[in-house]
Amino acid sequence: MEFSELIKTATVENVLLSCAGLPAVKGTLCITSHHLLLSSCPGGDGQAGTVELWLLIRNVDAVEKRLANSSGTITLRCKDLKVLQLEIPGMEECLNIASSIEVRFWVGSEPGPSHARVQRLAGESGRLQWLEAPPILWGSPSSGCPPSLAPQAMLRSSQPLTGPNRKRCREDETLLGTVLDEGERGFIIDTRSAQAAKQARMTGGGTEPKSSYPQWRRLHRPLERGRPLQESFIKLVDACNDTAINMDRWLNRLESCRWLSHVKAALSTACLAAQCMDREEANVLVHGAEGTDTTLLVTALAQVILDPSCRTLVGFQGLLEREWIEAGHPFHLRCARSAYSHARLKQEAPLFLLFLDCVWQLSRQFPFSLEFSECLLLTLFDNAYASAYGTFLCNNEKERCLCKVKENTHSLWAWLNQPGERKKYLNPLYLPNALVIWPSVEPQSIQLWQGLFFRWIRSSQYLDEAWAEIQRKVGSGLVQQINKKHQNWVCVCHLENNDWLLRFQPVQGQT
């Protein structure tokens, strides 16, 4: 059945739209197969025919309706955490609109091909997949020298299927053995507690016993996942939306939702993995249970920390494509519902959001080292939960193949990388930094991501003005000025003795 057949009322006049922090708008509401549109009334305050709202129906996380007399109010809580209110004249119209939206997002939320089977596919050998060594650059890029040290590899997988009988798998042991030279040692970072890993044996899983993998040292770093993580997200958003609470209560709820604890834990674990590679010069294998959630969180973050090429706009997109999308993070299941939904599904978990939050923490501590800005992180969050693009559709490559996602949808990356669009996502302060960026993970250094959690709650006018000011200062910056003013001279920026130097020199071949 086509969705359009379910639309009982397609347009309603004189609907009042209100959203925190913005003036209310009256206009015509129109519902289509994918969007909810509201255009202001001709002759009203806005320009005639101006579209004031263009809301993807998939973005709706929860619908509440309240009827009074002859009209009704629909509150739409969106996955990007925005809250909209529509006052609709006419009770029937109100009910029709509400039910159309509800139906629409149920249709949209049907799970794709069975993910359970897909996961079992890789179960035989116990390992899901390999990750090639990330292209880590050592030393100064200006020298152009190839890395003099042996590159370390970061691997990821799922848990080994040792089971209650402590099965061994020669092939798996050999596989891990080939990574290490004789006498060399590697680290296995298990994102579950030792206890949880042990318990996983009862259901056929487990972890690498020391006796079978003697060259590997196992470290357990429990990271939250699944429902507890989703609940943490819901509680945080709840607290952020409760403007009536006092300071003590606010800090209490910030603490008890534990979101920042999860941020700290994820960053610490990623730093540990990075440290094993960079400081211990060892190979690292990361896994949890399935290898599609916390594992990816750790490997992706570690690469941002270690590898300057993952900190560019294009490099970061590549990282997401490789470490999240191709690696089979089940976006469809994890991001089906956001913080407002009353439907208690079991598969939702904001692991991707947690990753974005950690990257934001890095950008705060190293404001010059990421080429992209907060704006990109927000856009990625929005698109992971509801998107007009196919990039985050389905749960893994196989499903995307079956659904012919590449043939039937557009890529988010193509959109973001258009010259006009791209500018929005660049960090004006970016200066390539070839070094590893080690963040502080002390509680004093970890902050709530206000740009996301308060995006629709407070006005960011003064902070936006500050960014505009920074852009102004840097945009009119020296490198551009000099290059413009004098074409025979170039200003180059390079790294020397751990300091960025600006060298002012004649263009080669010129007098």
């Binding site: 040692r185 470290l219 952020c240 403007t243 009536a244 006092n246 300071m247 003590d248 606010w250 800090l251 910030l254 603490e255 534990r258 604890s261 610490s268 540990l272 990075a274 094993c276 211990e280 010069e281 501590q365 190293f366 404001p367 302060l429 200066l431 930094n433 070094l435 590893v436 080690w438 502080s440 002390e442 509680p443 004093q444 250094s445 206000q450 407070r458 003064y462 003005e465 500050a466 000011e469 920074i470 200062k473 840097v474 910056g477 020296l478 000099i482 003013k485 004098h486 025979n488 001279w489 920026c493 751990n498 300091d499 960025w500 130097l501 600006l502 060298r503 002012f504 004649p506 007098t511």
Partner: protein
Amino acid sequence: MEHIRMPKVENVRLLDRLSSRKAALGTLYLTATHVIFVENGSETRKETWVLHSQISSIEKQATTATGCPLLIRCKNFQVIQLVIPQERDCHDVYISLIRLARPVKYEELYCFSFNPKLDKEEREQGWKLVDLNEEYNRMGIPNNYWQISDVNRDYGVCDSYPTEVYVPKSATAHIIVGSSKFRSRRRFPALSYYCKDNNASICRSSQPLSGFSARCLEDEQMLQAIRKANPGSDFIYVVDTRPKLNAMANRAAGKGYENEDNYSNIKFQFIGIENIHVMRNSLQKMLEVCELKSPSMSDFLWGLENSGWLKHIKAIMDAGIFIAKAVAEEGVSVLVHCSDGWDRTAQVCSVASLLLDPYYRTMKGFMVLIEKDWVSFGHKFNHRYGNLDGDPKEISPVIDQFIECVWQLMEQFPCAFEFNERFLIHIQHHIYSCQFGNFLCNSQKERRELKIQERTYSLWAHLWKNRADYMNPLYRSDHSQTQGTLRSQMAPCNFLYKFWSGMYNRFEKGLHPRQSVTDYLMAVKEETQQLEEELQVLGERLANLQKSQLNDNKDKSKQQERSKQLRLSTSNNSLANTPQEYSNDLKSFPSRSPSQGDEEDSALILTQDNLKSSDPDLSANSDQESGVEDLSCRSPSGGGCLPSEDSGKDSDEAVFLAV
């Protein structure tokens, strides 16, 4: 010098709080003014200097196998952990420091020996940098409604007020004196800020001695006079910044608050800011959280909540916002008081002024603001910040809270202030350092008696000289945020108030963002200027070269000569490139322990040059007033007796004891 039992101890270890592996071995020196730790064997002499006046507490801990640990907490929130090999040496150092950290005479303070090598004239010029008469003129006073009164010349009416006080024109000497007799410590209502656009004003005083029923005609006339000085409004707000319960308890001691029935045309309002004892304990609790060894996120947030610190900061801000709104939006004058009118009143008046008037958000204006609302109106710097050995219950971080309010506003309005965070941190440092004379004593009267201006130097001149370091690169005098009143969000936006690690963990550089946007933008500005000059020179040169068609080779070598390197340091890379301890497990694993590179902590280096220029970032030191010694004052001893008017304690301690 007679207090120094032990001028030098060798083989002392300085521990790093964040990383136990990074202890430094060196020699400890005690001088008449500083404690100095000099690290052994490093190429660049790494030195840690701590002014005695910054020391808030010294704690000798139980001797261990490696030596005797000594913990020094400083008033600027530095915590220094030393391990001294011999117990006897440790004891001598301890005893010496106990005495050195608590001078009994003003003459022992550093400002009387500090010499920045300025001549007499330069010193006098320095003191003239901030001129309050000029400031009242800037506000548009004297005018038809306000005049300067000499009623307090020779401090005859109120010894904690300045000699020059601005009062409504219709307030005669008789009214002022009468009103002063009806106010705690005779602190009668006087002008703090005047808004020339709408004639609304902020006045300040202490609490009235109203008890349960007392009245004073002159005091009532005084408030009338304030109202009449604002012809556009038919009432004034009287804001009592104490919690209502505290104010009520004061009535039993013959003090209290204004009865709306007795004063015509006032609207009375309580704003519950807690007293100095609550604030002292709150800070101590928060610092305990800051000192936790590898706390979890929950430990930290729970501790922060439990300390109540941000709640108190918000209460002060809310009071300032209320007053600014009354003045700017309603055009109504406000009289502010607390108990004595020198702590909470100073906080609230200065926050309101800062919100109202963009001038106070400039560097010079901020100096003027502190001079006006704090120094001239008798904020008890000596008692509150423990410059001389005194009653520990008088100590409280009152101005620290104001400084934090300013920082919180800077975070919300990044383009509104001409100065940066460093400016605030350095002012806080020097309030405790006693290196300059500005904040000595408890009142203008005491400072004049001590001839401070003839014997010490002014901090403002020092900061002004180095103002390039304190600029906010985002500030532009024509930016919208630098115009008119700052409209802070009135809704209860708790999340706007954040923990200020730049202040309370300022010596733990590892906790801060590893790259500073402020420094970078300042560097960009400077480099742009330099390069533009360079460009001009080179442009001229090129033109010349093209003209004279000089030989290629000759030319090239010259260009290389000129090719100039400019350092644009964007980050402390040595620090950025050092991981902290993410795992304890790795320690036990046979590590190849890669060289950690250069890990010098700039916070702890102080060369002689730096000492002279007295940069507090470099002269490492101290924590705040509520050190371990203060634990005793958490549970107030005594009991039922209410302090009398002259007991020297804050009047609403009564409530603290009674409730």
